[in-house]
Every structure is written in C-alpha cells, then in structure tokens.
Symmetry: C2
Subunit: 419 residues, 2 copies
C-alpha cells in the first residue's frame, strides 16, 4: 500500500514537472516525436506481436471471452492502423497557442483567451493495447503529459509499446516524464490515482460501464467519460421508406460492436405496416435477432418479446429492440427515458418533425436522415479521437485534440488599476 503510493507519486511528480516544459515545446518537435514513435513501432512489429501473443495465451488460459481476446489482439494490420493514426495526428493543426478570442476593454486592457494544454491526463483503460498508442499521440500533440494505466490482461503488449514509445519521444527532444506508463497492475493503483488532484488535471477512463462507474464515483480528479451508447433510430410517419431501410440497416449492422451503433428502432404506427416487414426481412438476411413490442409482433410474426430491460440495453451485437410508437412525442419520451444521450436519429421528410426531434432529443449527436454511425472524430472532421463523451461538462460527443485543452486569459495593460 505505502509502496503503491510512493510508486505512483514518483510518476505523477515527474509528469507534473514535465508538463511545465511540454506546453512550451514547438509543434515541429512534437510532430517529429509522433513520427518517430510510428517508425519505431513499425520497425519492432515482430517483437510487439510476440509480446502480444503472451497476453493472448494468458487470456486463453484464463478462458476470457472471445470478444475480449479480439480487443486484446495485435496483428500487422492493427499495428499499421495504430501508426497511421499517429501520422494523421502529426498532420493535424496544433491546438496549443491558438487565440480563441480577443477582447478589447474600454480601459485599454487587451485580453486574449489562449488555448493551453490541460496539463497531466490520466488514462485508465482495459484490454485494448491500441489505447496506449492512441492516447500518447493525442496527449503529446495537445501538449499534455500522459499517465497510462492499462489493464492487466494487456500488460505484456503495453510494456513493449510503452518502451518503444518512450525511446522514441525522449530521443526526439520531448521532456523526460511526458509519458509515464504504470506497469503495476494492482487495483489499488487506480484508487491512488483518483486522489491525486494536485498532480493530475483530468482522468479519462476507457472501458466498460463498470470501470467508468467506479471512476466517476471515486475520483476527486475531474473525469471526462464516454458512457455507453444506447442509440435510437426513429422512423417517422413521414419517412421515405427506402432511406429508412438503408439507414436503419447501416446503423445496426455495419459495425454492431461500437457505441454509435443503433440498439433500438422506433417506428411510427402509421408507417409500421409498410416499413417493418421490409426492414425486418433485411435484418433477417443479416442474422439480426429482433426483440419487438406487442405491436411489432402483431405486424411481423415469429419474433421475440422485448422486455423492459431490453430498452435499456446496449447489445453491442446483432440484436435489436423494435418498438412501434403512436407519435413523435412518444418516440422522444422513450429516447429520453431509456437512451444514453449518445446518438439518435430521425428519418423523416417532414421539416417540422425533424426540427422537433433535433431540438428536443438531448443527446451528444442528433441526426436527420443519416446513420448514427457517423458520431466519430474522424467522420466529424476532427482528425483522431480519444473517445466520445456522453457527459455535458467540458466536452460532449467526439473528443479530439481541442477537447484535451483548456485556456488562459492573457491580459496586456499599460498600468491599469481597478477603480
């Protein structure tokens, strides 16, 4: 316990000191370091894969789920994709130093609101080793030091990745302490981290609901969390059926395991009889399991009954809840009650319905005639992303480089005093 505390304090102190220098490092140096990491990762892909194999074997021994093992796995393709991410981040504009606003006051004071790094960011994550690389890329470019705490299942992969990363950044002129990887996978470390508000400016948890809930409830450091995605598509009575089928199919099937995939389809009663048989036939071809409300089951036979619990569920799988609603108001009420305020879409050709939905649905992203799958930093033109926030404080929706920054007011005077 005392050792865990000492161990982590040493790391965060180094990071805190580094953060004072890192915020002042020129863009060109940060970009060079990013490209160097990418280069070294590619050079060492064989070693990375063999270390990753140890994690995979351990996971198999422990009979972890195949979904988890898949998240854990690194292969050539995934390694290239991680390094492509770094190269892309190197190309993005540097957010630090940006003048967000200029204010000139009647007393002659010139105030500039200037973008600065948050400082030290703690990333607490689970089995995906690519989070190590993505987080370093985004933190480094935005001038933030990173305290990385990955899950025990990925420890061998993370150790080799963090070694490669540190070798690359510290040989590129980045201050020592910028990246602190925590190789102690004892759970007690997390509770220690959550108390270090004097050193860490922000915690970003990445992982399952349990981890995020634990961190939210136990952290005295501010948390930016991306919660689960119980996303809806509402097919309005004025929907174009062809668009509705295409979008509803895409939102569920194109990549069901991610947070912006649809989990519940809401259908207006006046269009249900025309729309549902076509739609559900499409889903059948893609092996989507349907759980329907009473009305849905009357229109299309042979489907399971959706329970109250289904409406709250993020399946992350080829399962879909379907409900027939009597009005757009009922659809909105359903989304507000059961949804997770992530991404929700209306399919309609009626302007008023669209406006009502877009205004009243209180989600990070609301869509008119497009798939919920677009909620993504890349798709929104922000470059890379560190997650999708479902909270309202600080950042909402996809979080890119800018969302990892704060600002300061720089005030230029010539002797002004307050009267």
């Amino acid at each position: 316990m005392i050792n865990a505390k000492k161990y982590i304090i040493e790391k965060v102190e180094r990071a805190k000191n580094a953060s004072k220098k890192l915020g002042l490092i020129p863009t060109v140096v940060k970009n060079r370091a990013l490209l160097k990491i990418a280069e070294n990762i590619l050079k060492n892909s064989g070693r990375i894969i063999s270390e990753n194999l140890k994690d995979i074997e351990n996971a198999e021994k422990q009979k972890l789920s195949s979904a988890l093992i898949d998240r854990l796995k690194l292969n050539e393709k995934r390694i290239v994709s991680m390094t492509d991410g770094l190269k892309q981040i190197a190309k993005l504009p540097d957010p630090i130093g940006e003048v967000i606003e200029k204010i000139k006051r009647p007393n002659g004071l010139k105030i500039e609101k200037i973008r600065v790094p948050l400082g030290v960011i703690g990333i607490i994550y689970e089995s995906r080793p690519n989070v190590t690389v993505d987080s370093v890329g985004l933190c480094l470019k935005s001038g933030n030091c990173a305290i990385l705490r990955g899950g025990s299942s990925a420890i061998n992969s993370n150790k080799i990745l963090s070694k490669i990363i540190c070798d690359a950044v510290y040989s590129s002129g980045i201050p020592d302490g910028t990246i602190e990887f925590i190789d102690n996978t004892d759970r007690i470390i997390i509770s220690e981290i959550l108390r270090l508000s004097n050193y860490i400016d922000c915690i970003i948890p990445r992982g399952g609901e349990g981890l995020i809930k634990y961190i939210r409830e136990n952290s005295s450091v501010p948390v930016i969390a991306h919660g689960k995605g119980v996303c809806h598509v509402y097919v309005d009575k004025y929907a174009d059926i062809e668009k509705a089928v295409k979008i509803s199919f895409n939102a569920k099937v194109q990549r069901p395991g991610v947070c912006n995939a649809m989990e519940t389809l809401l259908v207006h009663k006046d269009i249900a009889k025309n729309f549902l048989p076509v739609m559900l036939a499409e889903y059948k071809k893609a092996d989507v399991e349907i759980r329907g409300c009473e009305k849905t089951r009357k229109i299309v036979g042979g489907i399971k009954f959706a329970t109250e619990n289904d409406w709250y569920t993020e399946y992350l799988n080829l399962i879909l809840s379907v409900k027939v609603v009597s009005s757009i108001a009922e659809a909105i009420t359903h989304i507000e009650k059961y949804g997770s305020h992530h991404s929700d879409a209306i399919i309609t050709e009626n302007k008023k319905s669209a406006e009502k939905f877009l205004k009243e649905v209180d989600s990070a992203a609301v869509y008119h005639n497009a798939s919920t799958r677009f909620t993504d930093g890349g798709e929104f033109g922000m470059g890379a992303e560190i997650g999708i926030s479902t909270q309202k404080i600080h950042a909402r929706g996809p979080m890119g480089l800018r969302e990892l920054t704060s600002y300061k007011f720089v005030v230029h005077g010539n002797g002004q005093i307050r009267k």
Copy 2:
C-alpha cells in the same frame, strides 16, 4: 436519512423534468421572468430585510465572526445591487441556440455544433444570500434548472428570497421545477446531492476551502469549483517603478477580501532597493501588515518575518508577503509552487520578460502591467459571473452565461450511411 433522500429526489426529479422544457423557452420569456424577480425583490425589500435580521441575530447569538456576519447581511443597497445584477443579465445575449461551429463534410453531411444548457445545476453555498439571486439569474438565462442549497446561517433570508423568486418565475411562464430551493439545512442533504449524477449535470460550490474540498472529494456529479486566490505581482528588474507602485498598491489594497487581490509581492533583487522603500511606505499609510523574506527585511527595517506557511496563505486581509527574488525564473518557480493558479501579474517594460512570464505562469489569468483585480466576469466583458474557476476542465477564469452551457452536434443528412 430515508426522508432526506426522498425529499431531495422529489426536488431533483421536478428539476430534471423542468429542464427538458426550460431549454426550449424563448429568450423573451426568460428575460421577462428575470425582470419580474427584480421587481418583486424590490417591492418586498422590507420583508427581506426583516427576515435577514433573524439570520443576523442568530449569527450574533452564535458569536459567528464579523466577516461572516458581513457576508450574511442584506440592506437596501445590497438588495438594489442584486436586482441590478438581474437586470443586467436580462440585457445580455442569450447563449442558448448559438451556432458555435458549422462543418460541411465531403459526404454532404451538414454538422452544426449548437450551444445548449447544461441541464440541472446544483449550487451549494454558504452564508451569502445574494448567491441565491445571482445563481437563479445566471441559471435561468442560460436555460438551466437550479437546485439551490444555501447555508443554515442564511436560511431565513434564503427562504423569503426563494419564495419571491418562485412566485415571480412561475407567474412568467417558466416551467414548474426550474428553481428548487432546499430548505432542509441538514448536512446529510449535501452528501445525497453529490450522488445524484442521473439528475444533476454539474455542481458549483461557492464558499470556503473546506466546503469546496469536501465536494470535490465526494461528488460523483461533475464539479466546477472556484478555488482560493493566492495571487502574485512580480516586479521585474525592468519595471517602471511608478507603474509598479500603483499596480501593487491597487492589487493589495483596493479590496483585500476578494480572491483576485494580491497576497504575495515578488521583487527582483536589482530593483528592490529603489522600489521597496517607496512601496512599503505606501502600504504603511494604508495599514498593510508586511511579512518579508530576509532580503526584504534588510532593505526595509521593522517588518515581520514571513514563514514558509505565509507563501501559501490567502490572507483576504490587509496582510502581504514580500519576497526578493534573484531572477524572473525564481519568481515563476515561486508562483508555480505556492500560488493557486488564479491571477498573477508581471510589471516590466521588457517585452521578453513579459512574454516569458505570460507563457510560463500557468494561471487562469496572467497580466502584464495591470492589476490582478481585473479577473472578473464584468471586467472581462462577460456580464455577470457565477464564480472564477481555478480548474482547467470545462471553464477557467471568470464563469459567465456561456460557461454554464454545453453543446450538441446537430447533423443534417439526406440518406447518408457509413461505409
């Protein structure tokens, strides 16, 4: 305990429901409600003062400090000032609905980033009853419902104020539940509030260090806190002595009891002998108690010795720590170590010194040749303020209407699906 929970849940549920409507209320209705509150407060000033007298008498019976009794006190002048604040807020532009950014994507998606309210804001404060009125004004205008929990010492004042406020807003077309005042001053209520992250979007504590620390450490709801202000003025070796004297005097003396007043004066050794005797003579005339470092005491006799603890202290009083430093780097290191990242100023005629200081001092507001006393929503041209954030997440520095908002992405498509 069960009753406390039930009591508070009923209130936050009402607020949560109201927040869904309040965000859609037109500006004109919100402004009318603000002016109506002001009108009703003025009309009832006699009743307010007599209820406030009960609080004052209780405070005197309990022998509370004169500073606290002063914060508690309402008189005609303070009542007029509260209502002036409301009138000013009514005049400010409505932040809600503002299009922050427009993005057009190659696939034809039109994305708008639109400003929306946070939702439900919990304000937890201590003895100042004007916080009740200020918070209502700012929350209402920014479309947020307010859960108000004032201190027990101001309970009579807050009860009458919240009654007047609710009468005014609910007769102006504002949804029932928008303002929920908590008249139960049991401490257990605060710990209940801090767990209601399903209902409350953000907690803003206003009060002493102890309250803010308790809330930071125990809240699972995101917190935006304004911490203490240990502000510095650094008189560089290239300072204009006349400016330095004027600004240093203003920063300490003009209103010593507030967070943006200076607590520590740092002086470059090369200018100390010319500057300090003049400066300290000015402070003497204003009865400022000086606590100096060894070098300061060598230059000006008869002053107290500053202890290590003094450098950390927010006096909020006519006391000042003074330190002679050997370089601008030492000044910056001192500020980073002992300061609270609130407001810090450099006085210099040298551009390079100014740039170094403004870049390297990591505070919400940094000043060149101006008094730290300007860190204030009004002085920065933001209109009213709900506090000054010394954290980096969400908002930093003065927090006005905009800082009480979030945003959502509204995406307009014509059938786009993700490939």
